[in-house]
Amino acid sequence: MATRFILYLSLLAAVFLFGLLNLRTLSLPFKILCVVVGITLVSEAASGFLNSRGYNNMAVYHLLSCIEYAGTALVFHGLLRSSRTKKLVIYSIIPVAVLGIMNSVFLQDIRTFPSNILLLSHGIFLILSLLLFKQMLEEPIARNLFRQSEFWVAGGYLLFSSAVFLSFGLQNYFKRNQLNLEPLNHMIYYTNILFYTILGIALYTEQANIRRPS
């Protein structure tokens, strides 16, 4: 296994473990976030294991994309305060799951990377993170911005979802032109590492805020 993959899994494990150890002190959306990180850890480990044994590991991503969407939607549902947006977020889980299944059956079978559903869900995350930024601007609190877990969640998802769009665009182009995918894979890994580090910071600031409210 490549060092960067081990580094990535270690980071996921560290963030998940931190969340797990502080689960009692976290608010509900961050408890869900911790579970989402845990599920990502398990699926990434399973995917790495299958890959190392020479099996096709794409089925894992088909499953993960639907679970990740539901989990992340619940996180945003907990963080956003507008009741209309909350309803839309909750109601979006079922159609996205149905689209995910249809995508796996008709468009990108389970041996193919489910980029369609990932693009859709990250498009929604991008919008939700912008809505979270907007909400923060509308209701600013006295606490330092960098000590606000919502800022880290919104920032993390904004960066990661934008990066997903970019990397998928580049990946299709690289494959079509038979270019070396290694630099792109590096970029995807480091974006993932950056994203989960940011989520780790979000979990840390959340538990610190709950323990020492401003």
């Binding site: 601007l137 600013p140 911005l145 934008s162 970019l166 032109n177 270019l179």
Partner: protein
């Protein structure tokens, strides 16, 4: 040639990617500055509200003091001074009286002086800001109502429902001042005979209701210059997060209702509502 074109495409894509990340970073930096300026604006607004609150509170304290001084001065002038003058005249006119008559006069004067001493004792307990702070809202209201009751001009009913709890010293002070101002209006203008005061302490809401059976007025008059006292009461209620409503019509008395939602974490006092209630 074809290879060069491919390289160019990759460079364009990478450049677009870098531009996207720069835009995102720019967005985050812009957000941070915007948020900071909103925080500062909010802070300034909060400080202004706090300053206004402190100013209003101080005004309430001064008005309570002024009301107390008026009451003391009226008592000295109308009651104590008159009685003492009478005693002085009465004792001064004893020269030509027989011993028995002198004794009767002295006894009468002694009774009157005892009465004056009692009045002075009551005056020394006159209400002040400290009384509200030390004894709490309920006790202070009771004392004020007893004082009004002594005039014998009103039939007063005072009810408390629910278990009373402290609302915070500053809130209680403002509520007491609203009560005091309402009572002054009733005594001056209402021509009422019956007063009904009700305090309702429920876990979510505190309610003060002042009901009189006086001549009433048209609530539209609240917006006239004469209604400035009522407007003042409304703005004070708003200051502590309460709402004040006035229900009245000519000939049908008046009901003043003050509703204060109980949010224990939201405290203008900057302290827990730990003052006596």
């Amino acid at each position: 040639m074809s290879r060069n074109n491919e390289n160019l495409d990759v460079y364009i894509l990478l450049f677009s990617g870098a531009a996207l990340f720069i835009c995102l970073a720019g967005f985050i930096i812009y957000f941070i500055f915007l948020y900071r300026s909103k925080q500062l604006k909010n802070q300034r607004e909060k400080e202004a509200i706090k300053a206004h609150y402190d100013k209003e509170l101080l005004r309430s304290e001064l008005e309570i003091q002024e009301s107390t001084l008026n009451h003391v001065s009226r008592e000295i002038h109308d009651n104590i001074g008159q009685v003492l003058s009478f005693v002085k005249l009465s004792l001064g006119a004893t020269k030509d009286l027989s011993d028995n008559e002198k004794q009767v006069r002295i006894e009468e004067s002694r009774d009157l002086i005892s009465h004056v001493i009692n009045d002075l004792r009551d005056l020394s307990k006159s209400l002040s800001y400290e009384t509200v702070a030390a004894k709490g809202l309920v006790t202070t209201l009771q004392a004020e109502l007893e004082r009004i009751n002594r005039s014998g001009n009103y039939i007063i009913e005072f009810d408390i429902s629910g278990n009373n709890f402290p609302l915070g010293q500053k809130r209680e002070l403002v509520i007491f001042r609203i009560f005091q101002e309402s009572m002054q209006n009733i005594l001056k203008h209402s021509e009422a005979n019956r007063l009904k005061i009700n305090l309702d302490y429920s876990p979510e809401m505190f309610n003060l209701k002042i009901h009189d059976d006086g001549i009433g007025f048209s609530p539209g008059n609240v917006d006239t210059p004469e209604g400035s006292g009522l407007r003042n009461m409304k703005s004070r209620a708003k200051l502590i997060g309460a709402t004040l409503s006035i229900t009245s019509s000519p000939g049908k008395g008046c009901i003043i209702n003050v509703n204060l939602p109980i949010a224990r974490d939201l405290n203008f006092d900057g302290e827990n509502p730990s003052g006596p209630g």
